[in-house]
């Protein structure tokens, strides 16, 4: 619950960050969404034992942080809050895959450690890319972008409504939880006997609210369609942003940049 509370408060912060005025914020949301998906796809496409070869991809989130003025601490805290399921699973690799893959300064490093490191890096890269996308675009503009990319209207409208009432319902629940905990000295978790009435109440209030919203909508002529804002047009800037990053991701995927750079430095052969 603490974590979710924290998240509830953080939602407002995300929203404020998304409201900043930088050239990156002003880009068409479609361009940012497409580049982020492309980025995640590039990360995922790397070989299981790829580690250093993936590092240059970190340039993308770093540039977004810099140009979109996203505080690094904000991002780190959010990444740390994410469920570490993937990391836990990856931790099994060092125990299962003990074959020595590389030796560095006489220390043998097993394939398991390298593939674990790869999972960790994938985790950090993909999670921060998703969080950054919203932080420099804003959830609502992202939804508008999705609609323009052909996501069904039912889904877009659903996302918008969910986001709008997330704030209202989280606040309502927080009040409910606080009122309960002030009257009980026990643990934070509910017994089954009190869980049903409490969440049930919340549900009834939610259903009643849905009814009232529908009434308010139909009083203003709602006919099943939401007519939303009109996005700025796609311009050369968007094309440049999309193609530029796509080319960079292709380059990183095609050539092991750190290794080539290292060869240059050390002299190699």
């Amino acid at each position: 619950m603490g974590a979710l509370n924290q998240r509830g408060i953080d939602l407002g912060r995300t929203d404020r960050l998304a409201g900043q005025e930088t050239p990156l914020h002003h880009l068409d949301p479609r361009a940012k969404l497409l580049v982020t998906v492309l980025f995640a796809a590039t990360v995922v496409s790397f070989d299981k034992y790829a580690l250093t070869a993936m590092v240059p991809l970190a340039l993308f989130p770093m540039v977004v942080i810099a140009t979109g003025r996203v505080p690094v601490g904000y991002l780190l805290r959010k990444v740390l809050l994410v469920s570490p399921f993937a990391v836990l699973l990856g931790l099994a690799n060092p125990f299962l895959d003990r074959g020595v893959a590389v030796t560095f300064l006489d220390v043998p490093i097993s394939g398991g450690w390298i593939s674990f490191g790869s999972i960790l890096l994938r985790f950090v890269l993909t999670v921060s890319a998703a969080l950054l996308l919203v932080a420099v675009t804003g959830f609502q503009r992202l939804c508008a972008g999705m609609a323009r990319l052909g996501v069904p209207e039912a889904v877009v409208v659903q996302l918008l409504f969910l986001y709008r009432y997330l704030f209202v319902l989280l606040a309502e629940t927080q009040r409910l939880v606080r009122a309960r905990s002030l009257r009980s000295a026990g643990p934070a978790a509910q017994s089954l006997a009190s869980y049903g009435p409490m969440v049930g109440h919340l549900l009834l209030r939610t259903l009643a609210r849905a009814q009232r919203i529908y009434q308010a909508m139909s009083c203003r002529g709602f006919d099943g369609h939401l007519r939303g804002e009109i996005l700025p047009a796609w311009s050369g800037k968007e094309t440049f942003f999309l193609l530029g990053w796509a080319a960079y991701f292709g380059l990183v995927r095609g050539y092991n940049l750190p290794y080539l750079l290292g060869q240059l430095l050390i002299g190699g052969w």
Binding site: V82, G196, L261, G262
Partner: protein, 302 residues
Amino acid sequence: MHMSDALVSPAVGAVMWLSSAGLIAWSARRVKQDLDERKVPLMGVMGAFVFAAQMINIAIPGTGSSGHLGGGLLLAVLLGPHAAFITLFSVLAVQALLFGDGGLLALGANAFNLGFFPCFLCYPLLYRTVVGSRTTRARIFTGALLAGVVGLQLGSLGVVAETSLSGLTDLPPLPFLLVMQPIHLAIGIVEGLATAAVLLFVTSAGIAVHEATGSRRTALVLLFAGLLLAGAVSLFASTRPDGLEWSIESVSSLASSVPPVSEGVSAEPAGALVQSATAIAGTLVTLLVAGLIAFALRRKAP
């Protein structure tokens, strides 16, 4: 549990996204055909409700730990399978985008594991069958518990299958399965109990639930199609152990005409030392360059 971008391979991610996208498109059409405008705000607030309900933990008797509602089954009972699937998808999308849970590429897999099973299989085949036309408290309880447990077992099976087929972890599928299923038995029981508790309260408050009825025939068709697909995939995987990997290779090899210099290569010790030193030195410099670029951009930014 959420699948994560860090665990999926492109092939698994793409297949799961295609399945879920198909289900979304189909559900969106069905919801539209319903012509029930009331559902628009209802689905929206119900999505927010799932988040809110997840803030409230429920104690698991006798264990000292606690769990919370997943929501798929409850949504299916209250909204019908199609609207429920879209609503649950929106919940997972918000989790992925705002909280980084799961990830954009794993979203398809998560929608399938946590949405498809409870909404399109467990609700019509188990819950509706048990509850039938005469809703009694005992039937709601049994139906929700059964559907909750089976739904989570199937979802967990999905996670294991997707993770193993992706091949990023070295966990052998069988032991992995043996760990995951019991954990999800507990989670499934909590899901069933929590759903039942809420439904029973709402019913006793005199609110009629489930105006929607899921078609059992559709569910059976989907189940059959799913089994067929799973059978085909496992056959393909067993005849070609590296089947999926091979298909990825063939795709990605188009892009990569790279010399095989990844860390996985074992060479003679001296050569390996040079190689790894080269890789590490290069990585450090790469990070330095990226950092400098970011720093310069930050300074330039107004």
